[in-house]
């Protein structure tokens, strides 16, 4: 388990529990009691800590390496997943994975950013930072879903689109713009969930959906707190302040009307109980799909467009 800075007291307690467990080879009842007592304390501490995470702490949780990523969700929730590759123009970009599959019995298209879970897979997936080919593949798969009347589920988890010379040369801006345009043009349901980090244009490229949900401790922002701090505060140190000012938590975004719902995470965050987190996402997506089932394609498209046109009419105050 990787512990975050602010989880130090929790880490210490869990360390103690671990030690005691090693001692308890002899079935000493006193030790079992002590473990139980400490575990209750850990739970209480977790509940207290996670109930009032600051935006900067949420940023760290959202980026936690042990959090379930796109492929974890697909393995847990999608049957017969059939990955489809390539943008048909230049390359296969593994920062964005997509394919056909069966979600709760229904065929659908699933697309999302994959960050990877160890050095090798992180490099393979470019840490979830897509190049134009990734967005062009997403666009191609969304169009395909549209043609076959299949709902689209997108899972967003990216620090942002890849800032590289090659990406710019091949039209990063245009690729993102077309992906957003495609999201907004679909005549099938589009459900988007920010599962970790929703980083700027690279995130909204997949997230202009009929229903946009966020995991409880996910973040979604126009710029990373670090980027914002270096531009406006002229110091990366101010990332904490920038995280506060940007209002990037699921709770604030819900108040702003930018997202439609928040998916609760297990005690202490999705990384402590990935199975529970993934099941909660499955239920929430299924509910959202159910709400849209049977709606005419034109209505789905018009409602989605209307929703984004209306956004930003009110502030937080």
């Amino acid at each position: 388990m990787n512990f975050l800075d602010f989880e130090k007291p929790i880490a210490e307690l869990e360390g103690k529990i671990e030690e005691l467990r090693h001692l308890s080879d002899t079935d000493d009842l006193n030790i079992a009691d002590e473990v139980g007592r400490l575990q209750a304390k850990v739970d209480k501490l977790l509940r207290a800590t996670y109930a009032k995470l600051t935006p900067w702490q949420k940023t760290q949780v959202a980026r936690h390496p042990d959090r379930p990523h796109f492929l974890d969700y697909v393995n847990a929730l999608v049957e017969e997943f059939t990955p489809l590759a390539g943008d048909r123009a230049f390359a296969e970009d593994r920062a964005i994975i997509g394919g056909l599959g069966r979600f709760r019995g229904h065929s659908c298209m699933v697309i999302g950013h994959e960050k990877g879970h160890d050095t090798e897979s992180r490099v393979k997936h470019n840490f979830g930072m897509a190049r134009p080919e990734g967005y062009r593949k997403a666009k191609r798969l969304m169009r395909m879903a549209d043609r076959f009347g299949l709902p689209v589920i997108t899972l967003v988890d990216t620090a942002g689109a890849y800032p590289g010379v090659d990406a710019e040369a091949r039209g990063q801006a245009e690729a993102i713009a077309r992906s957003i345009e495609t999201c907004l043009d679909l005549r099938v349901p589009l459900i988007s969930v920010v599962i970790g980090e929703g980083g700027s244009g690279g995130a909204i490229a997949l997230a202009a959906g009929n229903t946009v949900l966020m995991m409880e401790h996910a973040i979604y922002s126009v710029i990373s707190p670090e980027g914002c701090a270096s531009i406006l505060w002229r110091s990366g140190e101010a990332a904490k302040d920038a995280a506060e000012a940007l209002r990037l938590t699921a709770q604030d975004l819900y108040k702003l009307g930018v997202i439609d719902g928040i998916i609760p995470e297990p005690l202490g965050g999705a990384h402590r109980a990935p199975d529970l987190a993934m099941a909660a996402l499955g239920d929430a997506v299924a509910r959202s799909l159910e709400e849209l089932r049977g709606l005419d394609g034109g209505v789905l498209r018009a409602r989605r467009r209307e929703k984004f046109l209306e956004m930003g009419k009110t502030g937080l105050y």
Binding site: G164, A173, I180, E181, G227, G312
Partner: protein, 307 residues
């Protein structure tokens, strides 16, 4: 002290010393370093006559340059929520907004105007880079939505002229949402079969380039304009290498197939007129065809062809 130092020297100095002139009469070209007299610069549309470098053009000058006879009507834009997040860094965003408003005399970073270009009725949405770097927040998004609505209402082509560093960070996620919002807006224009033309000016980056600004039927850029998604500094720190010569400039985008043409400012109006007429007046000259637009006044055919 004598007659020579007190009287003769000042006289001589007065003769040789360049006449004291207000600073703003001469401009230094940031590219070639030549000094350019302000009247020459204005006459040459802020293009250096020595090296052809295109300097940024103030938005009102831009509009004068585009429309027939420099004549256009601005539309009033709906009021939007100012400072929705009560954002504050070293300074309050609401104070930054007020400063920008008093500096520019404008409400926000976009002007929407309509008028005629080559006799064709058009709507133009032009960014004001002097207003917080032309950054796109709710008000700018609202401007593009209004411009698109006006274009649909008037059955007129829409020309967007971005000059923007990207999304306005101080409006947080709501500025990011303008990417989706403006995309819907310009799509409505396209759906009606109306041309949507983008004139990319220096700079067009970030969330602006990754939404409506890259979705034109025809993409035109001014020479040397920086157009791209990620900032050059961000890329340099990511890849830790120097960027290629001319990277993210208009000519680079042209070479990479991202835009249709790079047009010098002096030929911009003529180029636009040609495109607008090709798209809007498709019949041979003099032939009466079904036209969905107002014809130029001199043909006098307008009422006959619009049923």
């Amino acid at each position: 002290m004598n007659w020579l130092t007190n009287f003769v020297r000042p006289k001589i100095q007065k003769l040789v010393r360049p006449k004291e002139v207000p600073d703003n009469l001469w401009h230094k070209c940031p590219h070639c370093g030549h000094m350019i007299f302000h009247r020459d610069l204005e006459k040459n549309l802020s293009v250096c006559q020595h090296c052809g470098h295109h300097m940024r053009l103030p938005v009102k000058r831009r509009l004068e340059l585009l429309f027939d006879g420099g004549d256009y009507q601005r539309i009033e834009l709906p009021k939007t929520v100012a400072d929705p997040l009560r954002f504050r860094d070293g300074k309050r965003y609401s104070d930054r907004l007020k400063d920008a408003q008093s500096k520019t005399g404008e409400q926000d970073a976009i002007i929407v105007a309509h008028g005629r270009i080559g006799g064709v009725n058009v709507v133009v949405a032009a960014f004001n880079f002097d207003f917080m770097g032309g950054s796109m927040g709710i008000a700018v998004g609202e401007g593009l939505v209004a411009a698109a609505e006006l274009a649909v209402l008037q059955e007129a082509p829409l020309i967007a002229v971005p000059a923007s560093g990207g999304a306005r960070m101080q409006e947080g996620i709501l500025s990011l949402m303008q990417m989706a919002r403006t995309t819907v807006a310009i799509d409505r224009v396209k759906e009606k079969g109306l041309p949507y033309i983008v004139l990319l000016t220096d700079p067009t980056t970030g969330g602006v380039s990754a939404s409506f600004a890259m979705l034109g039927d025809i993409q035109i850029a001014e020479p040397g304009a920086v157009v791209g998604f990620a900032g050059a500094r961000v890329i340099e720190t990511t890849i830790r290498e120097k960027l290629p010569e001319g990277f993210q400039r208009a000519e680079y985008l042209l070479d990479h197939g991202m835009i249709d043409m790079v047009v010098p400012r002096t030929r911009l109006r003529d180029t636009l007129i040609q495109i607008l007429r090709l798209l809007r007046l498709p019949g041979p000259a003099g032939e009466v065809v079904a036209l969905p637009v107002d014809l130029p006044d001199d043909t006098g055919e307008e009422s006959a062809v619009r049923g």
